[in-house]
Structures are given as structure tokens and as C-alpha cells.
Subunit: 100 residues, 4 copies
């Protein structure tokens, strides 16, 4: 099934229940701060398991306790419902994760 | 440096500040319960990073949300201060981890 | 959908194309040997990603470079096609993995 | 111990035995390509274990099968022997890893 990008209005509506996430340069973005590399990389492992489950992949980076995540659907040329769904699953992990 | 096993008295003293851990069949043991496989395996990843840091390896098993850990120093033929130290680092992770 | 256990004849047929795996005590089993803890735990991470993808979980254990995996479908009370499928995905990883 | 940056001559000498790595914008850099997300993230896990062992952290990013790694010692304001050592450990993993 071809995915179509969400329109800006719909993205704004979704972001209203995804605090911390923003739309910038056509991608959903959020940075997370953890206490150290161990807790950051364990968080990445939990996210990786959800990513594989959805077969939808982020662009993400890490340095020490910081993890930055960007979500976009390349095939669709924009942010789709899959990006929003992955953002929700990442939030569900982050909410329960040890705080910095 | 050759490690020597701790005597039973000393192990008991250490266990008094490691709630949940027990000495059984010559090993320190504890089972942990997490909500699901994702949180269990992310916990294992955090523990793996501490294990590698210490270069001291557990015998451990997992099924779904359960992780069982056994610690012993094979070279010394018993429980040593390294096992106690690894148990303390594992506890430091578990204390902060999402609860089942 | 309720899963039903495979009959012993069918399991034997499947095992003929899964070298290294055996049926023992009602479970599919295989042990893998890697060079060290790093390569063993990275293998476990790859397997964990496939496990999550299938939502079908092994009973598995590790010590240093050794990983032991047991597969059974508890709900069905025996080995099902899901266990065979997970064994095949694990083999696909192991075939490409760095050898001990 | 305060680390001091390596001089450009020394970095060039080290890079001659680290094929694929380059010095750009004051950092050691290399991109790795793997077959899929599973093999890329398992590689990252192996690297994470070496990182924790050295207590020296990369800036790294991933998308699907691509992993980009940048190494610099912030405290020293440049590339030090620690970055070269971490690059060597990463190469030792990559050499043995499943190819794309």
C-alpha cells in the first residue's frame, strides 16, 4: 500500500499529544537525555526492537547520554501515519525509562 | 592476580545489603521480572555493558519478561568479590529500571 | 488462531534441513559457540530483533561465548510451525555470523 | 591524565593502517554499510560493548543498514590516541562482521 504524507494540519493535531516532538525540515524530531551511555544505549535497544516490529526505521544518532531521533517516510516524501505511530511507541518507552 | 572465594560468613554479610539475591549451590542468584520482552532485553543490554566493563561474565537466561542471573568465579571455584561487585552493578541498574 | 503441535514425523522432516538443531524433552534445541562475549551478545541482539518481529519468544541462556536456545510453544503444549520458523530465522543469522 | 591531540603527521601515519577512515573537520570518520537494520544494529551493540570497555564514546548515527561513526576527544580539543585505539577496535569488529 502506498503511503501518503499527512497534511500539516493533521501533523499539528498529532503533535499536540506528542509533547517534546516537533516538525522541522519535514521530519518529526525529538532529542532524549539519559544519565549515561549505558541507559542511552539500552533505550536505543528497546527502540530498535519496536522499529523491527514495525519495519519502519528512524534516522537517529547518539553521543554519550543523548539520543536524537528523526522520523520521515522516504517513499512517501513526507511524514506519514507510520512516523506518528513509531513516535508514539518511542514515547511509550521513554515515559517508563530511567530519567537523567 | 588469583582470586580466592569469599567465606560463607562474608558472603552472608554482603547479601544483607543485596536484597533479592541468594546464595544457592555455590552461586549468587537473582531472578528479575519485567513487563515484557522489550524491557527485559533492554535490561540485559545494560547489564551486558557493565559485564564487558568488568570483564566478568554471568551465567544468565531469559524467557519473555524474566531474566535469571547466576554469578560465580570459575577460576576461583566459588563466589568472589568480583561476583559481589557485579551483583551491585546489576542492582544499580535494576533499581532504576521500569517495573513489571 | 490456536496453534497445534507438529507430529514427531513432521518435526523430524523439518530438522533434516536444520542441522545442529535437535528435539529433546519436547523442545527444539541448539547451542552456538562464539569467540567471545561481544560476538555472542551481538548475536543475541540480532536474534532478539527477529524474536520481536515474530512475537514468539525463546528460552535462552548465555555464558561468555556460548548461547543455548530452546524453542517450544507453551500455549500449544509442544513444538509448532512457529518454533520451526524461528529456528530458521536464527539459522539465517548464525550462518552469516563471525565464527568462533 | 590530560590527553593531547595528535599532530596531523601522526594522524596521517595512523590512518595509513586504518583503511576507510578519514580525517575531516577534525574528526576520524567512517561509514559502514550492512545488509539490513538487524545486522547494522547488532554491529552497533558490539561496538557499544567496546565503547563501554574503553569509556570513550563516539558520535554515531544510523539509518537502516548504514552506520556512521565520528571520533574526537572533546576534552583535548582534537583527535587523540584514544580515538585511534577505538577506531582500531571498531575495525576489528567490522572485519569479522557479515558483509552487506
Amino acid at each position: 500500500v502506498a503511503r501518503t504524507p499527512l497534511d500539516p494540519e493533521e501533523i499539528r493535531r498529532q503533535l499536540s499529544t506528542l509533547p517534546g516532538w516537533e516538525l522541522r525540515d519535514g521530519r518529526l524530531r525529538r532529542a532524549f537525555e539519559f544519565r549515561d551511555f549505558v541507559e542511552a544505549f539500552a533505550f536505543m535497544t528497546a527502540v530498535a526492537l519496536r522499529v523491527q516490529e514495525m519495519d519502519h526505521h528512524p534516522e537517529w544518532s547518539n553521543v554519550y547520554g543523548t539520543v536524537r531521533i528523526e522520523l520521515v517516510t522516504h517513499d512517501a516524501g513526507g511524514v506519514t501515519d507510520r512516523d506518528v505511530e513509531l513516535a508514539r511507541r518511542i514515547e511509550a518507552i521513554a515515559t517508563r525509562w530511567p530519567k537523567a
